[in-house]
């Protein structure tokens, strides 16, 4: 080590505070996955509700889970919860309207 054991490299007077990097100027740093998944989830749940497609509603549930897993801690929990609730309600409504089990595509 080149650090002299006698001299302490620490300088309490030279402390700078942490500034979170500005992501507006550098959009490449941000991971777009949670936003895309959120949007996809909403689209699928609306499809499932309007067109009464069960598989759409299930995919919406998955999308909202994936969005939650990838989200940043600074992100609004209300957004997450709302998309989650929407997808769950899409599934429930699809089954209430048509209690038949889902048929596989094959």
């Amino acid at each position: 080590m080149t650090v002299n054991n006698m001299a302490d490299p620490r300088r309490p007077n030279k402390i700078f505070r942490y500034k979170p990097p500005n992501t507006e100027t550098n959009p490449t740093l941000e991971d777009p996955t949670p936003d895309y998944m959120n949007l996809l989830g909403m689209v699928f749940s609306m499809c499932g509700l309007m067109l009464k497609l069960k598989w759409c509603a299930w995919i919406a549930v998955y999308c909202s889970f994936i969005s939650f897993a990838n989200s940043r801690s600074s992100e609004d929990t209300k957004q997450m919860m709302s998309s989650f609730m929407l997808s769950i309600s899409a599934v429930v409504m699809s089954y209430l309207q048509n209690p038949q089990p889902m048929s596989p595509p094959w």
Binding site: R10, F16, R72
Partner: protein, 478 residues
């Protein structure tokens, strides 16, 4: 007349009979209709009507009665009218008068198989088996949740292990270890800042030779099952990124990078400063005593010689597998940003920075123990900070560096020159148009004339100014 009535009734009955036979029913069950004429008139229609829609079991009782009636009647008739009454009786019982049923095929007992059994809808059945797709979906969701919890915990343990092994080194070098920027006073939080389930930050500050150091633990997305599955196809590894920001006096003007060949090729294309200042292709590290797998990008040879001293070479050689890239730059401004069309370009802000990217060994299957192997790399970081402070270019090198920077700035201005000119031109044109509009809109002709004259005078003045300038330049040139 009675006979006529009987015949009519027989024919109508036959009509109904025919309908029954359209369903393919057994002839025997409608025996009674043959002898409807021998029953009470009032009963017949009711009985016959009843028999048609309902279940076929019902007529079985009445034919027996009729047969009995029939039996008594037949005997009388047979004895009276026919000689071989027995034979005729047998015929009556066993065979049907074929004339009556012309055109109808004799049905066979297999009619029973044509009963259609309607399936009970699946959701009304008392079995869960029909809901197997739903069960699959729920199982998938549960698997996702399980993976989320396991992945989150693993990442958290890895981060904690890293911090525990590096804490001492950091606390001995920095006055402030751990800050999230929100608290009023600058006190060490002493713990990592969790940005995500897979990204952890640590800000250290308060040291000679640097402004601060941001360490980012970029783990794999173990909490996302999709990512886990994708990584089975394309293996990736956890990364530790260290970014040291320096004050102006802490570093001389140079740009340098060393790292794996792939990383160097990628960085040369992506990074603004590397693409501008290090135009040559990455050189193999073997020339400087470093493994072949590493390559070097440098602004000038002197810089490489200055940075690659023995200790540095030793560090690079012993940990070559863990080093992704090392980037020293006084013109660091991040990756190239895509500029929008028509926007006046400004020189991107630069900051003197040292960037280190390390790969955690294990290629994804890391255990907390592997974090200890990164400690020597952190030592290298500290060593580099001190070294860069001491590294100074000689006069030639400095001149070269200054020329390079001036060249880059000029190029930038040239590129944007046309754009800036266009922008200024459009602004001027807009001003003129606005003025003209104002003049046109002026209703009072007098005021119009006055405004027009004023505009003309202003233009003349501008022209004169320009002419004066040109004359001055010409005189100076001479």
């Amino acid at each position: 007349m009675a006979l006529f009535h009987c015949v009519v009734r027989l024919s109508t009955v036959r009509g109904r009979y025919n309908d029954d036979f359209d369903d393919g029913e057994d002839i025997a069950e409608f025996d009674d209709n043959d002898f409807a004429e021998f029953e009470d008139v009032s009963e017949d229609p009711a009985v016959d009507v009843e028999k048609e829609p309902p279940p076929r079991a019902a007529p079985s009782s009445t034919p027996i009665e009729d047969d009995e009636d029939e039996a008594t009647v037949e005997n009388e008739d047979g004895q009276d009218e026919f000689e071989d009454a027995d034979a005729q009786d047998q015929d009556m019982y066993s065979k049907y008068d074929n004339e009556e049923f012309e055109g109808y095929e004799k049905t066979n007992p297999s009619f029973k198989n044509t009963l259609i059994y309607r399936e009970v809808p699946a959701h009304l059945q008392n079995s869960w088996e029909s809901y197997y797709m739903e069960i699959l979906m729920v199982t998938g969701l549960l698997a996702y949740i399980m993976n989320y919890i396991i992945g989150k915990n693993k990442n958290s343990r890895l981060a904690q292990a890293w911090f525990n092994s590096h804490r001492e080194l950091l606390e001995s070098n920095f006055a402030l270890v751990g800050d999230d920027g929100t608290s009023k006073e600058a006190t060490s939080t002493g713990k990592l800042n969790q940005e995500n389930e897979h990204i952890y930050n640590l800000w250290c500050s308060g040291r000679v030779c640097c402004e601060g150091m941001l360490i980012q633990l970029k783990f794999l997305k173990r909490q996302d099952l999709l990512n886990v599955l994708a990584r089975m196809m394309r293996p990736a590894c956890d990364q530790v990124q260290v970014k040291v920001t320096l004050n102006d006096e802490d570093m001389d003007t140079f740009v340098f990078a060393v790292g794996s060949r792939k990383a160097m090729a990628r960085l040369q294309k992506e990074m603004q400063d590397l693409s501008e200042f290090c135009g040559d292709k990455p050189k193999s590290g073997a020339k400087y005593g470093v493994p072949e797998s590493l390559s070097i990008l440098s602004e000038m040879g002197e810089v490489t010689d200055g940075v690659m001293d023995n200790k540095m070479v030793h560090y690079l050689t012993s940990h070559a597998d863990k080093i992704e890239s090392i980037h020293f730059s006084d013109q660091f401004s991040g990756p190239k940003v895509m500029q929008e069309e028509g926007q006046p370009l400004k020189l991107p802000e630069t900051k003197k920075t040292l960037l280190f990217t390390f790969n955690v060994p294990g290629m994804g299957n890391t255990s907390p123990k592997d974090m200890d192997s990164l400690l020597p790399l952190m030592n290298m970081v500290i060593y580099s900070i001190d070294k860069v402070k001491k590294l100074r270019l000689n006069r030639e090198g400095k001149q070269k560096a200054d020329r390079n920077r001036a060249r880059v700035e000029e190029n930038f201005l040239k590129q944007t020159h046309t754009q800036r000119q266009e922008a200024a031109q459009t602004r001027r044109e807009e001003k003129k148009r606005a003025e003209k509009e104002r003049i046109m809109n002026e209703e009072d002709p007098d005021r119009q004339r006055r405004l027009e004259e004023a505009a003309q005078r202003r233009e003349q003045k501008k022209l004169e100014k320009k002419q004066m300038k040109m004359k001055q330049i010409k005189v100076k040139a001479m």
